[in-house]
């Protein structure tokens, strides 16, 4: 055996100008070398052009469509007139209309789950220099999640022998119903809200808290020690992080003076000095601390990395999810992404002015387009965190909440009191 075969000489990488990849003949190429000057890569420039085109196209379509209210109102009154002429009572019409609105609202978490799972896989892939799903669907694996959902629908349901069968079946239902119900008072644009109730903020936190019961049910009923431990950890984590999350919103309510979420979003319209938007995140110190505490606690509430100790794959084999397969697992997954969307919508309403444009001359776009843009940016942060931070240890996780986040959020309430005293 010659020395050359034991230690083969690595050849120099060859830059392929047609597709922008560094190729090392007969060996792997190194992404770090490829990404040293990304703008020189044709693929990078093409991707940026596609992104700019998408944003311009969506903004153009939003500008063309305009606000949702004036578009829907004539349709509704026409349908109402038609139904009244057929002799349908007004009460039945309003109930049917509410059902239609509810079905549209239900589509929000479903479409969000289809999109967010694909987007998360794409983000994770590109962070790790992979391509992610590429084959299902016409463009970059766009229908991958639909295929996954069909697979989950057709998958056999395995219930362990030791499980409590009724509780095991009810747990995903108990998790997913509050996840859908919590969307009721959340605005998607100016006047684009399903149930405009006065106690919206309290309602969202109260209803969202019910999902914890479902998670404990799942953990306890599975008849599996990993599941039990995961369910208990999840319960401890969720109830703990609910406190700073709730207290982080208190300064927002103090400054806005109402619990109605769409009213809080509406109050933030306008600009200081004609340039700085009156968003709550721009209130000195109080706004920023409240936002950061709310963001951290929301990531923890959705059981995502770095706070995913209840379903840590590498130590608890997915925690309370372990014994679930098929559609039941899909419901857990759906509710997780529904809560991500809910947190992003709440943050957009509480801290980023809801449907208000960031600069005065940009207000030709309708409010729902600004909501969509803000929610997508915030959701990108959620998905980005997952692939950037390592997992918290369970004791550090609780310490961080009880010894740091909770005192900080309480101090922030005091700071908001001082700010109000100063303002009045």
């Amino acid at each position: 055996m010659t020395e050359e075969t034991i230690q083969p000489k690595l050849s120099e990488p060859v830059f392929n100008h047609s597709n922008g990849r560094l190729l090392m003949p007969e060996t792997r190429y190194w992404p770090t070398q490829m990404w040293k000057s990304p703008w020189s890569l044709p693929t990078y420039r093409r991707g940026a052009a596609v992104l700019a085109g998408l944003i311009t196209g969506i903004a153009g379509a939003a500008w063309f469509l305009g606000e949702a209210g004036p578009r829907v109102a004539p349709l509704y009154s026409a349908a109402e007139q038609f139904a009244l002429s057929k002799g349908v009572p007004a009460f039945i019409i309003s109930v049917l209309w509410t059902f239609i609105k509810g079905a549209i609202l239900l589509a929000a978490p479903l479409v969000n789950a289809l999109f967010a799972v694909w987007w998360e896989r794409k983000i994770s892939a590109h962070i790790q220099s992979r391509m992610g799903p590429m084959y299902v669907g016409w463009w970059h694996g766009a229908l991958q999640t639909v295929a996954d959902g069909l697979k989950l629908l057709l998958k056999e349901d395995i219930i362990p022998e030791t499980a409590d069968k009724f509780v095991h079946m009810m747990a995903p239902v108990v998790v997913v119903i509050p996840a859908i119900l919590a969307f009721a008072p959340v605005p998607f644009g100016n006047e684009l809200v399903y149930a405009d109730i006065d106690i919206g903020t309290l309602y969202v936190f109260a209803v969202g808290g019910v999902s914890v019961v479902g998670i404990i049910m799942a953990g306890w009923s599975s008849g599996n020690k990993f599941s039990l431990l995961g369910g208990l950890r999840s319960a401890a984590q969720l109830v703990s992080y609910e406190l700073p999350r709730t207290f982080a919103v208190v300064p927002v309510i103090m400054l806005a003076g109402t619990l109605n979420i769409s009213a809080i979003a509406g109050l933030q319209a306008g600009y200081w000095g004609g340039i700085i938007p009156r968003w709550l995140i721009f209130y000195p110190v109080v706004g920023q601390i409240a936002f950061i505490v709310f963001l951290i606690a929301s990531v923890a509430e959705t059981n995502r990395i770095p706070f995913d100790i209840p379903e840590a794959e590498s130590e608890l084999v997915a925690g309370f999810n372990t014994e679930y397969s098929g559609m039941k697992f899909a419901l857990f997954f759906l509710s997780e992404f529904a809560y991500v969307l809910l947190s992003c919508l709440l943050m957009a309403s509480f801290f980023f002015g809801g449907g208000a444009a960031p600069l005065p001359f940009l207000d030709f776009l309708p409010s729902w387009a600004w909501f969509l843009g803000k929610v997508l940016i915030l959701m990108f942060c959620f998905l980005w965190f997952r692939w950037t931070f390592p997992r918290f240890r369970v004791d550090r996780l609780m310490d961080f909440n009880w010894k740091f986040l909770l005192p900080v959020s309480l101090l922030n309430i005091a700071a908001a009191g001082l700010l109000i005293w100063f303002l009045s």
């Binding site: 109930v95 509810g102 419901l331």
Partner: protein, 118 residues
Amino acid sequence: MLLAYASILILLVIATLFAGGSLIAAKLVRPRVNDTLKRTAYECGMETVGETTVQTNIRFYTYALLFVIFDVEALYIFPWAVVVRSMGAVALVEMGIFLGILVSGLAYAWKMGALQWE
């Protein structure tokens, strides 16, 4: 305004129909192959040792107790936060006293080691 709460009731019906409907639809289309080995608990391929109803750490209970205290406090603080701007300094002082009592409780729990995870 009451109509908005009625629409939440309708949303509850829709959500229940969705959750039940998806489970029933899955039950109609999925295959079913019985296998006793398949129905054992998944514990990394090892056979399950002992029962699942094991004793768990008391820490979970103390955290739950602390949570109840502070969550009730949150319920009190929400209506206060709505009216604090119109009520002025008196409301601020009152809530300061109320929060002070609870925070001293948290400090006591911290000192006694209730927040220590072992």
